[in-house]
Amino acid sequence: MSEKQKHATAYWKKNLSYLVILLTIWFIVSYGAGILFKDELNNIKLGGFKLGFWFAQQGSIYVFVILIFVYVRLMNKLDKKFGFDE
């Protein structure tokens, strides 16, 4: 494998590990907190909201927005580190 290819492979591996972490959070806030465990979470109150209901109709959406911007930041840094930025 050439030096360039090794470089590209390392970059891709790092990218994949970011994806796994961020998509796990994505899954937990929506499918976990908003759907599968919503009944349990509904016993907890967040102001006037039952927590499971809040995740399903508000919280998951806020987290989605944050996740994308975190990914943007992480990848911009990674691009710089590997010299792939423009």
Binding site: N15, L22, G47, G48, F53, S60, I61, L67, D85, E86
Partner: protein, 590 residues
């Protein structure tokens, strides 16, 4: 000034604005026409994507649907936003690096096959046409309700406007008009929401007001749950759908969102790979403003509705009730003859109310298909957003603003879809398959002709809506999930995926999705009726079946690809190059 006058003024001003922008952003080349010259800033692209995405359904119907579905409505909220995470992380940056005009372009090149390209074009056309028909109808409905013009005339006016800016500007014109349309629609959505939130809870931010206390010191959501229980409805904050079905529908909507061609194509319009990531984030931010407000509006209007009508005398009911009754979106059937409105669990009539000419003892419109249920009230879900300002007694200009916002939402989505349809024909079919040596000018002309024809067809669907349109729009997501999404993801993340695998996966996915839709949702007119819910596979509704069809697509693709030869070397090189952001050339046609 009357609502009518205000509406004409606001609609007139916004339409003039759209035309002005379209004229300023005329398209000169196919690149302008297909991907707005590839030079749109991430901020503008984020707004345009948000406007493109939020259709008449998001603007007018979603809050109403949630209002009546309570927790079950969460599938739309999570489903139509969570897909953007998939887009930003798994699709947009790589497709931008690939640097072509369309989704079928990617499928055709990545799977080195015109068959794959054709399958993708057909899928894109099916998805886009089912979707656009609903938009044109939406334009007609807004016109007829706010401006008292005939629905069909409304559709024709809408066609004329879209034609104007799409024909002139292509993607470039559409993108910049969509930026303006986003501003109009979000302003129109937020103003009444803020007013009402402040009225009901003292907090002007709807997202917080929803979880606050009302004047009587009770949390709004607790109060609504209590009202629901008293009237025999299921608690607002807990649902009626099975957990598995909620899971399946949410996933199908998310994946479908990420697979819709008119959404994906937006990310071809920005200059760099990092811009594609960023603009997906901005798009979701702009969308989230509306999507986190909608559930608040749902709660406000549900509480308002119950408190205003439940057990109240018809004679003393506010004016808006009778106005909407006259347009056929509310019906009251005084079954027990006490002159009061009983609003409880159960349908008030068999199907939608059918009005007869005579009026009842209290001046209400009588219906011919009443039933034995105790419930006396029918309320169409769409009026929850449309009538909300009236119910909350807001000034006339706010009511008019909602009309302008609804039109902006419908027109921007229709324009985006029509562009995908015309690109599929002029670029993917004519340029890439039928007549490869067509000149730039010829292709541009073909694109303009096909957009013209597409608008005519969409208009005809809008004027004569086939009964299945409403049902099918929701299923367009299932189709996108079952066809494009796996083919694109595997094309990026699985280097070994080859044309045999991708083509068989797409065909199996779409076929089984269509089969399930027809068998359990639409039926085939004259041949068979839709089968009942008790026969659903694993208890999965047709809306959620896209999830199963997608999984099947992936399994078929992977198995078939491993049994057939690996893709050629130059294709494996394409895959390696799209994984690295640097050196993204401008989007090009060859």
């Amino acid at each position: 000034m009357s609502v009518q006058t205000w509406t004409w003024i606001l609609v007139g001003v916004t339409f003039a604005l759209y035309f002005g922008i379209a004229f300023w952003a005329r398209a000169g080349s196919t690149k302008d026409f297909y991907v707005a010259g590839g030079g749109v800033s991430p901020l503008a692209n984020g707004m345009a994507t948000a406007a493109d995405w939020m259709s008449a359904a998001s603007f007018i119907s979603m809050a109403g649907i949630i209002s009546f579905a309570g927790y079950d409505g969460s599938v739309y909220l999570m489903g139509w936003t969570g897909g953007y995470v998939l887009l930003a992380l798994l699709l947009a940056p790589y497709l931008r690096k690939f640097g072509k005009f369309t989704v079928p372009d990617f499928i055709g090149d990545r799977y080195y096959s015109n068959t794959a390209r054709t399958v993708a074009v057909i899928c894109a056309l099916i998805v886009s046409f089912t979707y656009v028909a609903g938009q044109m109808r939406g334009v007609g409905i807004v016109f007829s309700q706010f401006l008292q013009v005939d629905i069909n005339l409304g559709v024709i006016i809408g066609m004329g406007v879209v034609l104007g800016f799409a024909l002139l500007g292509g993607m470039k014109g559409i993108t910049y008009t969509q930026v303006a349309q986003y501003c109009v629609l979000i302003f129109a959505f937020m103003v009444p929401a803020i007013f009402i939130s402040f009225q009901m809870t003292g907090n002007p931010i709807p997202q917080i007001g929803m979880g606050s206390k009302t004047q009587d010191g009770v949390f709004l959501l607790d109060k609504l749950d209590m009202l629901h229980t008293q009237l025999g409805f299921k608690e607002y904050t807990s649902g009626t759908k099975s957990t598995w079905d909620v899971f399946a529908i949410t996933l199908a909507l998310m994946v479908g969102t990420a697979g819709l061609p008119h959404v994906i194509v937006r990310f071809f319009t920005v200059p760099k790979v990092k811009d594609a990531r960023k603009s997906a984030g901005l798009a979701l931010l702009f969308i989230a403003i509306l999507y986190t407000t909608a559930p608040a509006i749902a709660v406000f209007s549900r509480t308002n509705l119950i408190e205003t009508v439940s057990d109240k005398e018809y004679a003393l009911i506010p004016e808006w009730f009778k106005n909407w009754e006259n347009t056929g979106l509310i019906a009251w059937d005084d079954k027990n003859g006490d002159g009061k409105i009983q609003y409880v669990e159960g349908a008030s009539s068999n199907g939608k109310p059918v009005y007869i000419k005579e009026r009842g003892a209290h001046g209400e419109r009588l219906i011919s298909n009443g039933n034995e249920n105790a419930n006396e009230l029918y309320v169409d879900r769409d009026i929850m957003v449309l009538a909300n300002p009236e119910i909350a007694n807001l000034p006339n200009w706010v009511i008019a603003l909602v009309a302008a916002g609804g039109l902006a939402a419908a027109l921007s989505t229709a324009a985006g879809l029509l562009l995908v349809i015309s690109t599929s024909i002029s670029h993917d079919l004519i340029k890439k398959q039928i007549k490869p040596n067509i000149s730039e000018k010829g292709e541009l002309l073909a694109a303009r002709i096909s957009i013209f024809v597409a608008i005519l067809i969409a208009g005809i669907f809008g004027i004569y809506p086939p009964g299945f349109v409403a049902a099918v729009v929701a299923l367009a997501f299932g189709l996108a999930a079952a066809s494009f999404f796996p083919a694109i993801i595997l094309g990026i993340f699985d280097k070994r995926m080859n044309k045999e695998g991708a083509i068989s996966g797409m065909i199996v996915g779409v076929t089984i999705m269509l089969f399930y839709m027809i068998r359990y949702k639409t039926g085939l007119i004259g041949i068979m009726d839709a089968r009942p819910a008790s026969e659903w596979w694993l208890g999965t509704s047709p809306e959620g079946f896209g999830t199963l069809a997608m999984i099947l697509n992936v399994i078929v693709s992977v198995v078939v690809s491993r049994l057939t030869p690996a893709p050629p070397l130059h294709v494996q090189e394409i895959v390696e190059s799209i994984r690295i952001p640097s050196g993204a050339s401008e989007a090009s046609s060859h």
